[in-house]
């Protein structure tokens, strides 16, 4: 089964992968911004989450069923039940919604939204490559990840094809028109085969994704909104890099940590980045961060005394997500007719899906209210 459909010009049929170009079509910022604004009004607010935290699971599921998730719950009710149904419905709702927005958009805006949504597709490809290298059968993969291969959709990669390909090179060939192809191909040539794990391939994909994203957005229109968009992407790269460095300091990495750093950050570059990489221990790292990026340091300052213990990195990650969400929110009001409100909506919608899952599953697993609250990004 090949889920990839190719256009005569070699690109994907409407797929939002890195190879597409807007071909000079005009962007419809006004229309998309209006649609997104209407959808943003339906997002849950902080008070809603606090109310949900006090409710038992049946009341929460009823509450969610009365929101815009009803349609997906009804569609998936034949295949899933209980909280699995709810979790799948939340994911499908996000996917459908983002698909709609992508469908409305035209021109450069469509390309940019495509790139934002590409992150999720990239994770799917990574999980598939991981399964391919781990010699997981397509049947077992589908059992674990039914959502990843659930439909013949123009936005999907040929995940089953990757799993069934004779060799890893053949699997990578299925990604020929994506930004990942050359990075993956190069990695396959340099890595010793019997010991190959998915790690170098996955990290090469992430590096290729950001490199391509920055290149494309920088080569686009030079207006102020785009500059802010670029600035946001660079802040996101800073966040990705600080997360990687912290992981390396806590758990260690084999090989060169520099190879795992995404180029193009905003604050964590040159000397600051070098000092962060060289910092001995997390305490020294935060001293560098305090001078290198006050914004990032402030976002994490409450956790600084705790950092270094295993269990605090997930809290750091959650604070960094919150920091990015606030940044997106700040940008979104400056240029309503740009990609920025869409970016803000996408981040907030993803946070809503994650928050609802955390609340429902947290209640199911009897996690304390305080612990659930700490995991929410709101």
């Amino acid at each position: 089964m090949n889920l990839l459909k190719r256009e005569p010009n070699g690109g994907h049929n409407g797929g939002h992968n890195g190879s597409r170009k807007s071909h000079g079509r005009a962007s419809n910022y006004g229309y998309v911004a209006a649609r997104v604004k209407a959808k943003r009004g339906r997002l849950l607010r902080r008070e809603d989450y606090l109310k949900l935290l006090k409710m038992p699971v049946p009341a929460i599921t009823r509450f969610i069923g009365e929101l815009e998730y009803r349609e997906q719950i009804e569609v998936l009710a034949k295949r899933y039940h209980g909280l699995d149904l709810l979790e799948q419905a939340l994911d499908k709702n996000q996917e459908d919604l983002f698909g709609q927005i992508y469908g409305y958009a035209k021109g450069e805006l469509k390309d940019h939204i495509g790139y934002l949504l590409e992150m999720e597709r990239m994770h799917e490809v990574k999980a598939t490559l991981r399964a391919r290298i781990g010699e997981v059968s397509p049947e077992d993969f589908i059992k674990v990840s039914p959502a990843k291969v659930r439909g013949v959709n123009e936005r999907y990669y040929d995940l089953v094809g990757i799993l069934e390909a004779d060799t890893l090179e053949d699997a990578v060939d299925l990604l020929k028109d994506t930004p990942y192809y050359y990075a993956l191909h190069e990695m396959l040539e340099t890595q010793p085969r019997p010991f190959l794990t998915s790690q170098p391939l996955e990290d090469a994909m992430t590096l290729a994704y950001y490199e391509h994203l920055l290149e494309t957005v920088i080569s686009g229109h030079k207006n102020k909104a785009n500059k802010l968009f670029i600035s946001f992407i660079r802040k996101e790269i800073d966040v990705v890099n600080i997360r990687t460095i912290l992981k390396a300091k806590v758990w260690g990495v084999s090989g060169e940590l520099r190879d795992l750093i995404v180029p193009g950050g905003l604050a964590l570059i040159d000397d600051t980045l070098e000092k962060l990489l060289e910092a001995q221990g997390t305490k020294a790292l935060f001293e560098v961060l305090a001078t290198g990026s006050k914004e990032l340091y402030d976002a994490l300052s409450e956790l600084v005394p705790e950092i270094g213990r295993d269990q605090t990195l997930s809290q750091v990650s959650q604070r960094l997500d919150k920091y990015l969400m606030e940044e997106a929110q700040n940008f979104s009001f400056k240029y309503p007719l740009s990609i920025l409100p869409v970016l803000n909506f996408i981040i907030r919608k993803q946070a809503e899906i994650d928050n609802l899952r955390i609340i429902v599953r947290g209640k199911q697993y009897n996690l304390s209210e305080g612990l659930i609250h700490d995991q929410l990004v709101m």
């Binding site: 781990g134 790690q199 084999s254 899952r357 955390i358 599953r361 612990l371």
Partner: protein
């Protein structure tokens, strides 16, 4: 030993006295071994209590982390992270000798604790919570192996202490008293034979 089985001869007496000396030496050595094993057992018992607590705490941490991760990153992402697993941790069984007792010693052939890049999945954008779950299960696995080794060692020590105790008691209450009884019987019998012989010689002398 039945009295009828005892040959009341001087050579038998010498043989039995040798046996008594060996049995008493053996008894002393076995008593020392028993005391040594009991001492070793109590030392390990204190460690076993610590390991039991460590195991319970590692299990609680692992359970808490996986439940939190299932809520925060979703079950699917956790399960797909497991696809990266290329090798299973295996344990090599070696042995060590403590006071003549062969005890098991477990060593990891592929150590479960790995760094972030050796776990097989991408370092850059895998949520740290996934690494936290994996770290806590790595710690749990280590604690399980440590506890399993110690539990087996303690069981073996108890068995050996029991068997040594039985040997000590057998020597103390059965073997040594029996040998001493035999030696006493032979020496009494030899004395009696001596007296009979003297009496016989006197009778012969009187008759002639």
């Amino acid at each position: 030993m039945e009295i009828s089985d005892i040959r009341p001869t001087r050579s038998e007496l010498i043989e039995i006295k040798k046996k008594i000396t060996i049995a008493k030496k053996g008894h002393q050595i076995l008593e020392m071994k028993r005391d040594g094993l009991i001492h070793e057992f109590f030392e390990l018992l204190a460690r076993a209590q610590d390991i039991e607590e460590k195991l319970a705490s590692a299990y609680r941490d692992a359970e808490d982390n996986i439940l939190l991760a299932r809520a925060v990153v979703g079950t699917e992402q956790l399960k797909t992270a497991v696809f990266a697993r290329k090798e299973s941790p295996t344990v090599r069984l070696a042995t060590k000798n403590v006071m003549g007792v062969v005890l098991p010693k477990l060593d990891f052939r592929f150590h479960p604790r790995k760094n972030a890049s050796d776990r097989g999945y991408g370092v850059i954008d895998t949520p740290p919570l996934v690494d936290e779950v994996i770290t806590s299960y790595e710690k749990l696995l280590e604690a399980i192996i440590e506890a399993a080794e110690l539990e087996t060692v303690l069981k073996k020590l108890i068995e050996e202490i029991e068997s040594t105790k039985r040997r000590v008691n057998a020597l103390n209450y059965r073997v040594i008293p029996d040998l001493e009884f035999s030696a006493k019987y032979i020496s009494m019998r030899l004395q009696e034979l001596e007296r009979e012989n003297i009496f016989r010689l006197k009778r012969i002398k009187n008759n002639s």
